[in-house]
């Protein structure tokens, strides 16, 4: 009896000992972690070297820090709620580990919001730098990718007006772009998917620092166009929306059209948009059929003519279609000039004509500029807003 009791006790003690042992495994208290919210990649002075900037949060300062701190500079002093740690090196993953020389807390990447790549670096190719952000188990695929005209560490040090953390500000800025659909929202997973596809070209929103006297702000403009992992060009805002029409990413935006009678302009807001891409291969010619459906409402009108009659609405719809067509054609032209398949035409052909694709894949660079696109744009005006006839002063 005694023996059995002892045996059972031993087992219980063993089980209890397992508990603290496992505790060492991946356990980190909140106050031993530094949360990374933004990462910037810059070219360093030495060729081949990069400078990595990580923005970590100082949670204690978050509550007290004023949203705007003009005494910024190197960061980390004053009441900034963030600390930008910079290190240079050849390999991104090694730099990340090297941050432990400077930071007493372990850097924690899952809450990283944005990955900023300097344009100069992007032009040289970024594959070797972003590989670790995909491979590492702590970084997330949904981190936003942006390309910056200015140095990433400067962008990460522009104190925003509304947010306390520059990185969060940039992330929210990029995510808000669906109001205009003039800049894409690209996450790492989208970027990687395009990168790993042989023909589809990655894109990323472009940001830059604009200064108005002392006031520095970050703004989003246009799209960076890559060819493989190298930045080759950019699309302006209008062309960007043309691109987004094609890849079915338009969520909103304003389009101004002239009133048919010539009395002022009407601003139409896009409420709903949908596009469908169908490749057709016939006798070695490739035709991409694009069916685009858009719904809009009248948001403002500068003239005084009542445009609610069906005739007027129909002509406005026609104007809207024409405007969308122009945007898409502009985007197509730039993409063809850059010879960069940002629309994913190649991929759609692969899905529909896998056997033909095997041949096309090899000579896609030659084929792409000659691809013909047939646009079929169908627009509907849903409503005239809260009023129908325009608000005009009573005639005397």
């Amino acid at each position: 009896m005694k023996n059995r009791m002892g045996f059972i006790l031993e087992i219980i003690i063993c089980f209890m000992l397992i508990l603290p042992i496992s505790g060492c495994w991946s356990r980190h208290e909140l106050n031993s972690l530094s949360f990374v919210v933004g990462v910037g990649l810059d070219k360093a002075e030495k060729p081949g070297e990069i400078q990595l900037t990580t923005q970590v949060v100082k949670p204690g300062e978050l509550k007290s820090a004023s949203a705007k701190n003009k005494s910024s500079g190197s960061g980390g002093n004053g009441t900034n709620a963030y600390w930008n740690i910079k290190r240079t090196g050849y390999v991104a993953s090694k730099i990340i580990r090297d941050f432990s020389h400077e930071s007493s807390h372990r850097l924690y990447f899952p809450h990283n919001q944005v990955l900023i790549i300097e344009r100069k670096l992007a032009e040289e190719g970024i594959q070797k730098y972003i590989d670790t952000f995909i491979r590492d188990n702590e970084t997330r695929f949904n981190v936003l990718i942006v390309v910056s005209e200015d140095r990433a560490n400067e962008v990460l040090d522009v104190s925003p007006e509304l947010e306390k953390l520059p990185a969060i500000n940039i992330a929210k800025l990029v995510e808000t772009q669906n109001v205009t659909s003039e800049s894409p929202t690209v996450r790492l997973i989208d970027f990687i998917r395009r990168l790993m596809n042989k023909t589809t070209a990655p894109i990323a929103p472009l940001i830059r620092v604009t200064s108005d006297g002392n006031e520095k702000t970050v703004e989003v403009f246009g799209t960076a166009v890559f060819k493989h992992d190298k930045l080759v060009g950019e699309l302006n805002k209008r062309e960007t929306r043309g691109l987004l029409w094609v890849i079915n990413k338009v969520k909103g935006g304003m389009i101004d059209v002239a009133v048919p009678s010539g009395d002022g302009t009407v601003s139409l807001e896009i409420m709903r948009a949908k596009s469908k891409m169908t490749p057709v291969i016939q006798d070695d010619t490739i035709l991409i059929k694009l069916d685009i459906k858009a719904e809009g409402i009248i948001n403002s009108q500068s003239g005084s003519e009542d445009i609610t009659s069906p005739v007027h609405v129909a002509s406005l719809e026609k104007e809207l279609s024409a405007e969308i067509r122009k945007e898409i054609i502009a985007a197509l032209k730039t993409a063809k000039d850059l010879n960069s398949d940002i629309f994913g035409f190649g991929e759609s052909i692969y899905w529909k004509y896998p056997s033909e694709w095997k041949k096309l894949k090899m000579k896609w660079d030659e084929v792409f500029p000659d691809i013909e696109v047939a646009l079929n744009i169908d627009t509907t005006l849903r409503s005239t807003g809260n009023i129908s006839a325009p608000a005009v002063p009573a005639k005397e």
Binding site: M1, R4, M5, I8, L9, I12, I18, L19, P20, S22, G23, S26, R27, H28, E29, L30, N31, L33, F35, V37, V57, P59, G60, L62, K63, Y108, P110, H111, Q113, E138, R140, I168
Partner: protein
């Protein structure tokens, strides 16, 4: 190990049992004498010099020559009955009546039949019976020259009135609650179920206390095996004292080492009646307002009497809320610990920053914080319950201020942890029957979460579920109606369907007579009623 402890316990019990038997096999079974003085001496020997034992000798009969005595315990008897209905007829009324009829006064039967104007009179012939009767508030009539004694029902003692139960208050529904008096309690039940099938079987348990236990059930509803099993378990209790139904509960429960109780208790007659009507049996214990009902299923903890009195929509929502609250109360500190020490990536970014800001400078790991705060809360709760009400409130306020405000202000505990523990505390009171099991489960989960994170919580909950599924209460699976699944009984689980839709008694409990009511009882338009 449990089996080992169990066998040890059984050994002790047997040893005690034998000893007790040896002590009691004295002269208790001996018969009464036909000499009054001898009887009184014998009784004096039994009772000793207790001040509440009254032995009043008197002469009675038409000649006033027959010697007799009554023995009773003051305080447990109603003196008005003794005076008016025992002594007065014997000493006074007897002289008014005709002499020839009442002359042979040495016959107890005649006294019983013609003189005593009391409802309950029994003959007794052994000292044991006399003593037992006396101890339960009866009056003993002894007479010179008779080997029999009369045990006359004169029970009457101070009782608390029927009051609103403190533990299970309701907004809608009967407000009466059981009292400490067994008779009052069974009466309250009988008034709910006016049915001759309602059987109230009594037995006395407790070598020293001789507490009356009463098993109540509806004869034609309850499975006979259940009653047999209850009686078997009750009869094997050979113990000193039964002071509360909790004693009985621990003697008869199926899983004595489980943190979950397999015997339900209630203070409300309507609730006990409802359970008896579902095919359960109730065990009343004299001296406590808490009545046990068996078998118990886990889902019972989430059901309240009021669920059935309020309309089904609200009742269902409240049931779901209770389930949610129970889940929160056992898991929230553990989830908090797991999230903050292992899975920081699962916390929304802005919330994480707020939490990190509060945890900044806190000297303890999250698990230690959770344990400290959890312990503090349990202590506060205990202090609030035990202390007299006015002081109890003071303790709560001081506790809330000191622990809540000062600890956070001093940076010893993070604010989110205080919030989590407060939420846990409130939620744990939503399901009163599982409050005790919940706090133990919570502690285990916190330790597991601190050691293994979310995996630990999953392990702990899985273990708890496996254990729950293995439990049985008097043959009924503890997790029924979910495991084994009985779709019909899901009508009264997390949701409650209207009363008219609950045709059947719970399948695992009321299977002896499954149908509760007619089908098609749904209120309908008169024209539709004609059709059917």
């Amino acid at each position: 190990m449990f089996r080992y402890i169990h066998s040890k316990l059984r050994f002790w019990q047997l040893a005690n049992h034998n000893g007790a038997d040896a002590n009691h096999s004295g002269n208790s079974q001996s018969n009464l004498f036909d000499d009054l003085n001898k009887n009184l001496t014998a009784l004096k020997g039994v009772f000793g010099n207790s001040y509440d034992v009254n032995m009043r000798g008197f002469n009675f009969g038409d000649q006033g020559v027959t010697r007799g005595a009554i023995v009773f315990l003051s305080g447990m008897t109603d003196t008005a009955i003794i005076n008016e209905n025992i002594i007065k007829p014997l000493m006074y009324d007897i002289r008014l009546s005709s002499k020839q009829e009442t002359s042979p006064m040495n016959n107890m039967s005649i006294i019983q039949a013609t003189l005593l104007t009391v409802g309950m009179v029994q003959k007794a012939s052994t000292i044991n019976e006399v003593v037992d009767g006396c101890l339960s508030g009866k009056t003993i009539l002894l007479m010179d020259g008779s080997k029999d004694a009369l045990v006359i029902g004169t029970e009457g003692w101070e009782t608390r009135g029927v009051d609103e139960p403190k533990t299970e208050s309701v907004v809608r529904g009967p407000r009466e609650g059981f009292t400490e008096n067994l008779l009052t309690n069974t009466t309250l039940l009988r008034r709910k179920i006016k049915n001759p099938n309602l059987t109230l079987e009594t037995m006395k348990i407790g070598e020293q206390t001789k507490t009356t236990i009463c098993v109540a059930y509806l004869k034609d509803l309850v499975p006979p095996q259940l009653i047999k099993e209850i009686q078997r378990r009750l009869q094997r209790i050979k113990t000193d004292a039964i002071l509360e139904s909790g004693y009985i509960e621990q003697f008869i429960e199926d899983a004595p080492f489980s943190i979950f109780s397999t015997v339900a208790n209630s203070e409300k007659p309507d609730l006990v009646a409802a359970k008896i009507l579902e095919g359960r049996a109730a065990i009343f214990v004299d001296g406590t307002p808490f009545v046990l009902t068996v078998p118990m299923v886990f889902m019972e903890s989430f059901q309240s009497a009021e669920d059935y009195y309020s309309r089904p929509y609200f009742a269902s929502v409240v049931r779901l809320l209770r389930t949610l609250a129970f889940f929160i109360s056992i898991t929230s500190p553990a989830i908090y610990v797991a999230l903050t020490t292992f899975h920081q990536e699962l916390i929304p970014t802005s919330l994480l920053f707020t939490m990190a800001a509060s945890e900044e400078g806190v000297p303890f790991p999250a698990m230690a914080e959770a344990l400290i705060m959890g312990t503090t809360f349990e202590i506060l709760r205990e202090a609030g319950v035990r202390l007299p009400r006015p002081i109890g409130q003071a303790v709560s306020i001081v506790g809330a201020l000191v622990i809540g405000e000062a600890a956070v202000g001093a940076g010893i505990i993070g604010e989110p942890m205080v919030i989590v523990i407060a939420l846990t505390a409130i939620c744990s009171f939503v399901v009163p029957p599982q409050t005790d099991s919940g706090s133990i489960l919570r502690l285990i989960l916190v330790v597991l979460a601190g050691a293994m994170g979310g995996f630990g919580i999953a392990l702990g909950l899985m273990g708890a579920f496996i254990h729950l599924a293995s439990l049985r209460s008097f043959g009924t699976p503890y997790l029924s109606p979910f495991a084994p699944l009985s779709t019909q009984d899901l009508k009264d689980s997390f949701i409650r369907v209207p009363i008219w839709a609950m045709f059947a008694r719970p399948r695992t409990i009321g299977w002896h007579d499954p149908q509760r009511q007619e089908f098609r009882l749904k209120p309908s338009h008169p024209s539709e009623e004609d059709k059917s």
